[in-house]
């Protein structure tokens, strides 16, 4: 099969899985997850095949796999859509294929396949446990199977379809299609347990917030189309003349057309990748099941945002470059840095294991965006790939932890929040596989030197900033990285080290193989993936920086390799080790019932951080309330009901009255009257004249007939024709 054929067919298996599960196999769990996992596996195989072919091709980047068709007739030409693989797509397909498959397999165990049906479980709410009697007759509660099991697999199948569509497309339009499909699926999946009001609210919040970004993104796409007449990547981003023209034409606002478009599209990325100020949806999105969190916030959706940012980098940097930051790049840099630091500070004060990871994701995405902002193209792509692996690993690990604690809680009958880290502790002994894989992921996130993927990718960003003299970015990211290491170790210490703080934690159990196997596989990648991008200088030129060469070829002008400097590398090592140790030291002695050790020293600052800098409240008052007022009072009540309905009712009333007038003053008397007159007249004629004519008197008849005959005869005689 040719690569192009595989490309066209790549998004298809998950879509078919969605359709089949929804239509046919909803009732049979085994069939549903089998179809879903098989679909993910097929797409994974396709992704691997394409990746291997792409890697094998010499000068891949100049020569790519692509195929497109005429789609939308526009005057004399067509808008073409199609599929493409260039180096960026190849690496993206690699991590998307793996993470999606891992998450699909994980979901089988996460939703407790094989466990009994719950006592009070209802579709729309989380499963609450099933009472099981063992041989000795005493009952204990166990984790119960999810009632909406098949539905979940259908939705993540649709989600995978959206992501694959986005990744393989060769133009911004089908990318946008995939983007929106993923937006829909995030709504469906965050609100998966629709019986929970908080889940429903979170789903709406996610959709609305990303929608705000999507409006601007669509404006950017339309602007781009109107200026260039095409949306194809190769024709715009790989085309120096187009980029040159766009970069040097200026809009009335004073920035170049390229930057304007890039900023508009970037606003969409802010929404999708949860950068400040549109970050508010991502923590709330933790209401969804953990595989969803992994999928959305690690592997696919937020990565799609950064993928797009990397895609439009040529546009963003048109008219400038690494040494001359364009307005678009400056915007990206500022927002990325700010978000990285901002989210890291919040993560320090969160107690929910998933919320820490959520803010961590926001922060790491900020790193990637900041990297793009300073022109570190390859570094951003590198961090995207490594982050997908270790973040997916961390999320799935946290899901495993929550399951273990829940098991313990059901076993002991304790009512504790299984997601609160202050209810955990000592899980390293109870859930070893989870512990080791989570540790690997956490170390990768913190950038533990040399053996983790995160180290190499994060270091490259810092090195880039250092080398190009972007000191503000450098210092902010250093600070953020320190905080990252700190809160990661805080999380690991609270969860796995020390003594169990609750009975639930004491009775926690390791999760089944369907959940731990993906953890192990992802753990391998979290270690190994980084070695593809080791800077050349470290190996004294023997091993080339494969990642840099490969992904760098996506751009028309390869980014120049960095001059290696030890300082940023040293800094990376210091901050990662320092942060990790600090985190362990502060949190290793936390006992059951103890408050967070940072609360007292930080005082009100801690409360600010724990309440997410009160941004949700700010938006609720300044954005949501006015919007609701607009819709409820201004448009609904005033404009719609009073003005428009008033006009319509008045018109209707007038017409009604006119109709009535017509009916009562014209139709009834005149028209009906005329008809009645005719009828009555005829009746009257008959009634009145009959007695006159038909008297029954034959003499009268005779007279009458003779009269007529004479008259006719005379007439005939005298006026013969």
């Amino acid at each position: 099969m040719t690569t192009e054929q595989i490309l066209w067919l790549l998004p298809l298996p998950p879509l078919l899985a969605f359709v089949f599960i929804i239509l046919f196999t909803n009732r049979w769990k085994v069939l549903s997850f089998s179809i879903a996992v098989a679909a993910a596996a097929i797409s994974w195989i396709g992704s691997m095949v394409i990746f291997s072919r792409a890697v094998a091709l010499h000068e891949f980047g100049k020569f790519i796999f692509q195929s497109n068709i005429n789609w939308l007739p526009t005057g004399d030409t067509y808008l073409r859509i199609g599929v493409m693989v260039d180096p960026l797509t190849a690496v993206t397909l690699f991590f998307v294929g793996w993470t999606v498959l891992m998450i699909f397999i994980y979901s089988i165990g996460y939703h407790n396949f094989g466990k009994p049906k719950g006592d009070h479980d209802r579709a729309g709410l989380q499963p609450h446990g099933a009472t099981v009697k063992d041989e000795h007759g005493h009952a204990h509660t166990e984790l119960s199977v999810e009632p909406m099991f098949s539905r979940f697999f259908a939705f993540i199948g649709l989600f995978a379809f959206g992501m694959y569509t986005l990744v393989v497309s060769d133009n911004l339009l089908t990318l946008f299609v995939g983007w929106e499909i993923m937006g829909l699926c995030s709504y469906l999946l965050i609100g998966f347990w629709y019986g929970k009001p908080s889940a429903r609210a979170a789903a709406i919040k996610a959709f609305m917030t990303t929608r705000v970004g999507d409006v601007f993104m669509l404006l950017g796409i339309v602007y781009l189309y109107s200026v260039t007449g095409t949306l194809n990547y190769r024709e715009i981003f790989y085309n120096p003349e187009v980029l040159h023209v766009l970069g040097n034409t200026y809009t009335p606002l004073g920035i170049s057309v390229a930057s304007a478009i890039a900023i508009l599209i970037f606003i969409g990325i802010i929404g999708k990748s949860a950068q400040w100020p549109l970050h508010v949806w991502l923590p709330d999105a933790m209401e969804g099941p953990t595989p969803v969190s992994a999928m959305i916030h690690a592997a696919t959706m937020v990565s799609a945002g950064v993928y797009l940012a990397i895609r439009i980098y040529p546009l963003a940097s048109a008219g400038g470059g690494v040494h001359n930051l364009t307005p678009a790049m400056m915007t990206m840099g500022i927002i990325g840095c700010f978000t990285a630091l901002f989210a890291a500070t919040i993560a320090v004060a969160q107690n929910d294991i998933k919320k820490v990871l959520a803010y961590s994701t926001i922060s790491q995405l900020g790193f990637m965006i900041a990297a793009l902002g300073i022109g570190a193209y390859v570094a951003a792509a590198f961090h995207l790939v490594t982050h997908a692996f270790f973040k997916a690993l961390l999320f799935l690990g946290s899901g495993s932890v929550i399951h273990g604690v829940e098991h313990g809680a059901l076993h002991t009958g304790e009512h504790v929040d299984p997601q609160d880290m202050f209810n955990m502790g000592g899980l390293r002994k109870k859930m070893p596989i989870t512990f080791w894989t989570f540790l690997i992921g956490g170390l990768a996130l913190s950038g533990f030197p040399f053996v983790t993927a995160g180290f190499w990718s994060k270091d490259e960003i810092l090195a880039d900033a250092f080398a190009h003299g972007q000191w503000l970015v450098f210092f902010v990211l250093v600070l953020a990285a320190t905080l990252t290491a700190f809160y990661t170790m805080r999380q690991i210490t609270l969860t796995f080290f020390g003594a169990p703080r609750t009975k639930a934690a004491e009775h926690a159990k390791e999760t089944p193989w369907t959940m731990t196997l993906p953890l192990i596989l992802l753990g391998v990648f979290a270690v190994v993936a980084g070695w593809a991008g080791i800077p050349e200088a470290l190996t004294a030129g023997t091993i080339p920086n494969w990642f840099h060469e490969f992904v760098g070829a996506t751009l028309f002008e390869h980014p120049e390799p960095l001059v290696f400097n030890f300082t940023p590398m040293l800094d990376s090592i210091l901050i990662s080790l320092g942060g990790l140790s600090l985190g362990w030291l502060v949190y290793r002695k936390v006992k059951a019932g103890d408050p967070d050790p940072l609360v007292k020293p930080m005082g009100p600052v801690h409360r600010l951080l724990r309440n997410k800098w009160y941004f949700d409240e700010f938006y609720a008052y300044f954005v949501v309330k006015p919007t609701i007022w607009m819709s409820e009072v201004f448009t609904s009540l005033w404009m719609d009901r009073m003005v428009i309905d008033g006009i319509l009712n008045a018109v209707g009333g007038i017409i009604g009255r006119v109709g009535h007038a017509f009916r009562n003053y014209f139709d009834a008397p005149v028209v009906n009257g005329f008809g009645d007159f005719l009828g009555e007249g005829t009746k009257w004629i008959g009634k009145e004249s009959a007695p006159l004519v038909q008297r029954g008197r034959i003499q009268g008849y005779m007279v009458a007939s003779l009269t007529v005959i004479i008259i006719l005869a005379v007439a005939f005689f005298f006026f013969r024709p």
């Binding site: 003499q699 007279v703 004479i710």
Partner: protein, 172 residues
């Protein structure tokens, strides 16, 4: 003015005056009697026209039978003093106009005929009576109408008897 013309004029006068009296008189018996006078006049006209047989038949049949029948009918349909009071109905004037018009138009139509004023041919020695008898009895002549007329009379006889019979017994 020949004798024949005078006779004709006298007879015509009798006829017309009697006819008018038939239609104008109140008393029904008088009307019947005036009819008889008319019929006599017509008989004279027949004689003037050298149809002697017909003149006699006129007297015998019309006056002798029909007029008598009329008198009987008048007798049988009398109500007390019915003969007083007007006996022209409401449309008499219209009927009068009509009849005048009809008479006028008849004369007018006839006068435009060529033979309107012709003179009769001489009779000569033709034996018209024998001829009449022969024409009534010869099948090549008018035997069939003659026989049919007799059947008609039979039918009329039976019909009249039936219609006028007193059927009070059957109704009970």
């Amino acid at each position: 003015m020949t004798a024949l013309q005078i006779i004709f004029l006298l007879a015509a006068a009798v006829i017309l005056i009697s006819a008018v009296m038939v239609t104008a008189t109140r008393n029904m018996v008088h009307a019947a009697l005036w009819l008889i006078a008319t019929l006599f006049g017509v008989a004279v006209i027949f004689a003037v026209l050298e149809a002697g047989f017909l003149a006699v038949v006129q007297v015998v049949v019309y006056i002798g039978a029909i007029a008598i029948m009329f008198i009987f009918a008048v007798m049988l349909t009398r109500r007390e003093m019915l003969d007083k009071g007007p006996q022209m109905n409401k449309r008499a004037w219209l009927a009068g106009i009509l009849c005048v018009v009809i008479f006028a138009s008849l004369i007018y139509m006839l006068s435009s005929w060529v033979g309107f004023n012709q003179i009769p041919l001489l009779v000569g020695n033709a034996d018209t009576l024998t001829l009449l008898g022969q024409s009534l009895l010869l099948p090549s002549a008018y035997l069939l109408p003659f026989e049919v007329a007799s059947v008609l009379l039979l039918a009329a006889l039976v019909g009249a008897v039936y219609v006028a019979s007193n059927r009070k017994q059957e109704e009970k």
